[in-house]
Symmetry: C3
Subunit: 311 residues, 3 copies
């Protein structure tokens, strides 16, 4: 592996899932593989799970970690040829090349604006780092993708069931704020890459990027769609067509115990209780959100290990 910016950077998904699960039994078995190697983690946006689990994963491998909340420094310019006489003090050309010299890998978190679809979809931040950095780039959630989460999710589903083709349903759920499409996008791509009976359910108006959903079955009847599901993956996203808009916050779409039945309930967290998912689900044994969050460490760790092995 030379970088990890989409799930397609994984060469063999079933294999990497098994390797991640093997790491869980002894997280320190490769504790010298990262000796003398430094991970720089750059945050353009807030983080709890991603930050702590990725830092932990790197340290489990013996890496040094340096963290920079880049908004606490100055604005970075991403456009070529700009006359930088306004609000940006440093161009990504310099920033990425310079940080590459202090790092053996750079992990970047940079959310979309949700204002300008073309700009967000250009993934200019992540792509600029890839273009100018001279070390591998790791995506800690970008404008349109969250592959570390998707790998985590695949690991978790693999742990949940021995079924050959479990029924997995991605269900939209309400949220008061406009949220990105990144988690949904990467989850969908991952479900297209492993053996599952996968479908999506969301209210009209919340269709995702058709280049991502392709020919995945999509319905708008939540109760019907969730029936007999083995896994319900819950996620809010803002409208893709009316880009970044919250069209409504229809509380009828909240995930309830009645709707999920015996299905395992997954969510990437943070989750707004009794808005996205009701307490009765999150506090039940069917909720696997804590187990899922734990797998963030091992998803990050197996990715870091693959990158280290390639250096």
């Amino acid at each position: 592996m030379k970088k990890f910016t989409t799930i397609y950077d994984i060469e063999n998904i079933p294999e990497i899932i098994q390797e991640a699960i093997a790491l869980k039994t002894d997280p320190f078995q490769y504790e010298t593989i990262g000796k003398h190697k430094t991970l720089v983690m750059l945050f353009f946006n807030a983080s709890l799970r991603t930050r702590l689990s990725t830092e932990k994963a790197a340290k489990n491998l013996g890496m040094e970690v340096m963290i920079l909340d880049i908004n606490s420094t100055w604005n970075i310019e991403f456009k070529d040829g700009t006359i930088m006489n306004l609000h940006s003090a440093e161009h990504i050309k310099e920033a990425a090349q310079v940080i590459s010299q202090y790092a053996d890998m750079i992990a970047v978190r940079a959310f979309p604006s949700l204002k300008n679809k073309a700009e967000d979809e250009s993934e200019y931040i992540m792509n600029s780092f890839m273009k100018y950095a001279t070390v591998p780039i790791i995506n800690m959630e970008s404008a349109t993708a969250h592959p570390l989460q998707a790998l985590t999710d695949a690991i978790t589903i693999s742990e949940l069931t021995d079924k050959k083709k479990p029924k997995v349903v991605l269900s939209w759920a309400p949220h008061p704020k406009a949220l990105p499409h990144a988690v949904a996008n990467s989850f969908i791509k991952m479900m297209q890459s492993i053996e599952v009976d996968f479908s999506i359910v969301h209210p009209k108006g919340y269709a995702l990027n058709p280049e991502v959903t392709k020919d995945i079955p999509i319905s708008h009847h939540q109760v019907e769609a969730l029936k007999n599901a083995d896994v319900v993956y819950v996620k809010n996203w803002s409208s893709y067509n009316q880009y970044g808009q919250v069209l409504h916050e229809d509380s009828n779409w909240m995930i309830t115990k009645e709707k999920t039945g015996n299905a395992s309930c997954m969510h990437c967290l943070p989750v707004r209780r009794n808005v996205v998912i009701e307490d009765a689900v999150l506090d039940s044994k069917n909720s696997v959100v804590i187990q899922q969050a734990n797998n963030r460490t091992y998803a990050a760790q197996i990715v870091l290990k693959k990158l280290l092995e390639n250096q």
Copy 2:
């Protein structure tokens, strides 16, 4: 020790004091005891001494440390059953369980509002972490307690004198801002637990929680109270009865050389010079505030060691 949220978590105070002092002579004697163990430090509030000394203590024991200024992420919800459609993005139920999976111990700093006495006294933040976390919790100053400071103070008093029962006086001193009761509370509890001749002096209106002060002698005549003291412990706190109010900033209560005489002068820091304590005291040999701050490292280190030994 299974947690450290109050001084009563210490099984044997005289013993732990001696062990802390022994650590000072060789801070690295247990440098492998924390191998493969991670301390996560969570700050809801600012910190200088507590942050640096606790991080140092953990590293002296070979632990990994991950620090999160939690206000830089998003608001945490602490109430049960809330419909989280407003300002909180994650419930403590998830946050505490999730972080527990990345940590072997979680240290938390969370000050009181000083607006709502019942809420502050419920210690809902610290108690929620204790309730939902699955690893030991360390109190780095909560709404009503600062046990790491109190242990530091006991270590320092033990170093200061060989007297069997030194005279220790806790004196209120003026401060322009409303300050919490945590340091005073924990200090008082500690003084009730070791061999000292202890009393409190404060202006009328500044009585502390009677459940804390119990039958400790309290006076309102500072000069008289400080006479022949071996140790004067200086601290401001806001009113407890008129909860969180600064009733006055009577500069007559500032600690002066004249008042402290030959007594050792202690303060948890930060201290506003010439408001709380005058320069002539802080710059004299009688001030032991620097030695006291140094002991923060060893108080934290012995607590971490006890917690590690129990894992």
Copy 3:
């Protein structure tokens, strides 16, 4: 070396340059020299290169690093005898002594106000740390000096040319914001200390402190001054006489390919493209700003090593 606050703390500049270059070939050759030693890095101001390269350097030597953005705590008082009843919660006397007990070295970044020349030139922040701290102080850019940058620059020039006396020109260039004199000051002092044919070119009104420039040739004709230069060192600074003012942003002074010709182009970064230096220079082989930024690590590392050897 007992501290590193100016370039004059370096005993033998040619020797330290060679030692830094030797470190580049194997950064981990002294990886145990910093065992059990802690570097505390204190930031009063934002940092990208200085923060990451200094942290990296310390870790390359086996040191522990603790970082505190001191503005996230509370205001520090620097004046003696102040009645601290306003905006400062802790005096530098306590802060510096206390942090010294958690650190084996303290690195400090504190920019000038650019409002009060006498105050800035007093270097009260750096000098207060030196006065009260009990461990070595490292200057990570102060009001008037940036010696880690100047050492980096000397290393870089040494790598660039074998000429006995290369022609080095420091050229002012335009910038929309008022910038400090620290980088220029330390660079000039360094150029006075090594074998170079050195001159300065800047617009009228931008004369630097004459105690720094001494008898260095100064001209106001940029094109003429840069002719046949081996190295052009580009830097903006605000007016020194009309202290902290941006007198004009004359775009004629931007560094262009035409002006620099075959000279190597240096800049401390961050650099505003097409304002300070045009793309055609920064994207050419003549730009050595990335190599220069890499040398920050080894400048910091050799300084830390010298300080460690003296402990």
